[in-house]
């Protein structure tokens, strides 16, 4: 909603309250000073919300700042006593405000009673509101960011209800094309020459082989070559030390190197081989403790491979 220059007469009940706090501007005698809403709220006149919302329904250009209303209402809710009548009243006001927040989803869904879904959504949204509010710093969060988070949470809850409804009806959500999310655009310009049937296993295998044959500068090919050759020996020179006597402390005298279980061997068998070996099988074959091997691979071996990949990723295309 946007602010508008033309003032609109507030609800009759609001005028005496505003007058008592000297909040009316002189020319009209009924136009409110900009600070009014905050002051009225601080004074406990939170009941004006339904009035303002009602007013905004009648007059679309009414100067209503829903973001600020939302923040103040949430603050009151956060401060209210759990299960109190006051809290119930504030929750009702929140439910009246929510449909007016920009971004709230109101799309129809096939075979779904949206009104019923919305009612269920309000219940779900309110049920976890206090948990949601505990994770939010109302004092320091910008009003529009706060509104975005509330709207996201409400929409998420609505979608969950819609999903659940389709599940109960044993109907698929995505069988018809509606409400498709925005997805990455990459790949749209990649046009494989047809015709190979991409919906069969054989077709996909053919397509992949054809595309790989055409792609002479495959990053995967170069990277695998680099790992296989290990030109600097960084993978081969990385290996675990195992305890000689498992019952004794893990000091240097009680450790021996296991160069046969080096990161190069592990990378070849765990990453490059198809199908890959299991680490437990390699540990058995090499007669090395699984935990020792696993911890070496996870902490050192994989980290080295990722480092190689990272360096490779930054190399310019030839």
């Amino acid at each position: 909603m946007t602010r508008h220059d033309t003032p609109v007469e507030p609800l009759a009940g609001l005028v005496p309250v505003a007058a008592s706090f000297n909040l009316l501007l002189p020319p009209t005698g009924w136009e409110l000073k900009p600070i009014s809403l905050t002051l009225l709220l601080l004074a406990g006149y939170s009941a004006i919300f339904p009035g303002i919302i009602e007013l905004s329904r009648c007059h679309p250009n009414v100067p209503v700042n829903t973001d600020e209303q939302l923040r103040q209402l949430l603050q009151l809710l956060k401060d209210s006593q759990e299960g109190s009548k006051e809290q119930e009243r504030l929750k009702n006001q929140l439910c009246q405000l929510i449909p007016h927040l920009p971004g709230i989803r109101k799309h129809p869904y096939p075979n779904i009673d949206l009104e019923e879904m919305m009612q269920e959504t309000y219940c779900g949204f309110l049920k976890t509101l206090s948990a949601f509010l505990r994770g939010i710093d109302l004092d320091n969060l910008a009003a529009d960011v706060l509104r975005t988070r509330v709207v996201q949470r409400f929409n998420k809850t609505l979608k969950n209800k819609v999903y659940d409804q389709y599940r109960r009806m044993q109907q698929q959500i995505f069988t018809v094309s509606f409400d498709a999310p925005i997805t990455s655009n990459r790949g749209e310009n990649f046009e494989a020459p047809e015709p190979i049937d991409h919906t069969t296993k054989n077709g996909i295998e053919q397509l992949i082989e054809r595309e790989q044959a055409q792609n002479k500068q495959r990053i995967g090919h170069k990277l695998w070559q680099c790992i296989e050759e290990d030109p600097t020996g960084e993978l081969r020179n990385s290996y675990p030390n195992e305890k000689i006597d498992k019952k004794k402390p893990n000091n240097p005298e009680n450790r021996r190197p296991r160069p046969d279980a080096n990161s190069h061997v592990l990378a070849l068998r765990l990453l490059l081989q198809d199908p890959p070996d299991k680490l437990s099988k390699i540990a058995r074959e090499l007669n090395i403790d699984y935990q020792t091997l696993n911890s070496h691979w996870k902490r050192t071996g994989l980290a080295l491979v990722k480092e190689i990949a990272l360096k490779f990723g930054y190399q310019p295309e030839e």
Binding site: G124, K127, T128, S130, A131, F132, R134, G135, Q152, K156, K159, N160, K161, Y163, R167, Q170, I173, F174, T175, D179, A180, P181, T183, S184, R186, G187, F190, E191, A192, H198, T199, T200, K201, I204, E205, I208, E211, Q214, N215, R218, I219, G220, L223, W224, I227, A267, L270, L271, L272, D274, P276, K278, S280, N294, L302, V305, K306, A309, L310, G313
Partner: protein, 287 residues
């Protein structure tokens, strides 16, 4: 555990854009076998992302290893980043397979979601998921009969997301109170810092679901210490935490016991706070 085969399976249509992208990624690989793995990994991630975006979850598909040309070329990955929460690993299976092999890279994973492919490859089914905390360190395969239904994924992620801001503050406060030159407190600090906040939330969530309230401290402390639920060895359950020792030099075993006791107290306190915000005891689920 619920056998997901008995429940509603969500079907996601695969758009041409997705198939083209998967083919493009596959074409960069070293050989056709690796190309095929990348092809199905890409489509699995795309499908899960499609569903989560529809569910209004914030995702960062470009931020994962599966969308990084060099990393996907060497690692067998299907990760999808959920900003502020962690990663979901999207695991493709073909119709007829009864288990998935867990990938080598498991860091920062909060859940594994299984995506089933069958000819014609114009759609996939989301079979279910398993929280990462339920997987023991040495597990290399997950049977499909152990999956939880996809509809529970929402509540699982929601619980983690709601609890992260609370625990972030609590853990930061705890860490700032722990003295570095005290061996017990230094060890406790290490235990806490070795895990991401979402991992701690997931660990405590599991404890909360699987333990009596009277055991929260013991089970939670054990889980925070990093020992799996199947490994025992915590010794005396009724250890009371005390930093005062009669001997000036504490034995390693004494320090260990004190660390456990301290973690028990921390876990109990955090679990009580989490139970409050999650409203456990009530029907928390949004569905």
């Amino acid at each position: 555990m619920v056998n997901s085969m008995d429940t509603y399976l969500l079907v996601i249509p695969l758009e041409q854009t997705a198939r083209n992208l998967a083919l493009q990624f596959a074409s960069e690989q070293a050989n056709p076998q690796k190309g095929k793995r990348v092809y199905f990994n890409t489509l699995a991630v795309w499908a899960v992302n499609y569903f989560l975006e529809w569910m209004e979850m914030e995702t960062d598909i470009d931020g994962g290893d599966s969308w990084n040309p060099a990393r996907r070329a060497v690692l067998d990955v299907g990760d999808l980043v959920l900003p502020g929460i962690g990663k979901i690993e999207c695991c493709p299976v073909q119709l007829g397979e009864s288990a998935i092999s867990l990938p080598e890279v498991r860091e920062n994973r909060i859940a594994y979601i299984v995506v089933q492919f069958a000819e014609p490859f114009d759609k996939v089914k989301l079979l279910g998921f398993i929280p990462a905390v339920e997987i023991q360190g040495e597990t290399e395969e997950i049977s499909l009969t152990n999956l939880k239904p996809v509809e529970e994924l929402w509540d699982y992620l929601d619980r983690i997301e709601l609890a992260i801001p609370l625990l972030q503050g609590e853990i930061e406060e705890l860490l700032s109170d722990l003295e570095e030159d005290d061996p017990v407190q230094a060890q406790v600090r290490e235990n806490l810092q070795n895990k991401s906040i979402s991992e701690i939330v997931a660990i405590l969530n599991k404890v909360l679901h699987s333990s009596e309230k009277s055991d929260w401290g013991y089970e939670g402390g054990k889980a925070l210490a990093g020992s799996g639920s199947s490994s025992g060895g915590w010794g005396n359950r009724d250890i009371s935490f005390s930093r005062d020792k009669s001997s000036p030099v504490e034995k390693a075993s004494d320090i260990e016991e004190d660390v456990k006791a301290e973690l028990n107290l921390i876990a109990e306190d955090l679990l009580e706070k989490l139970a409050e915000i999650w409203g456990d005891g009530d029907d928390f689920a949004l569905s």
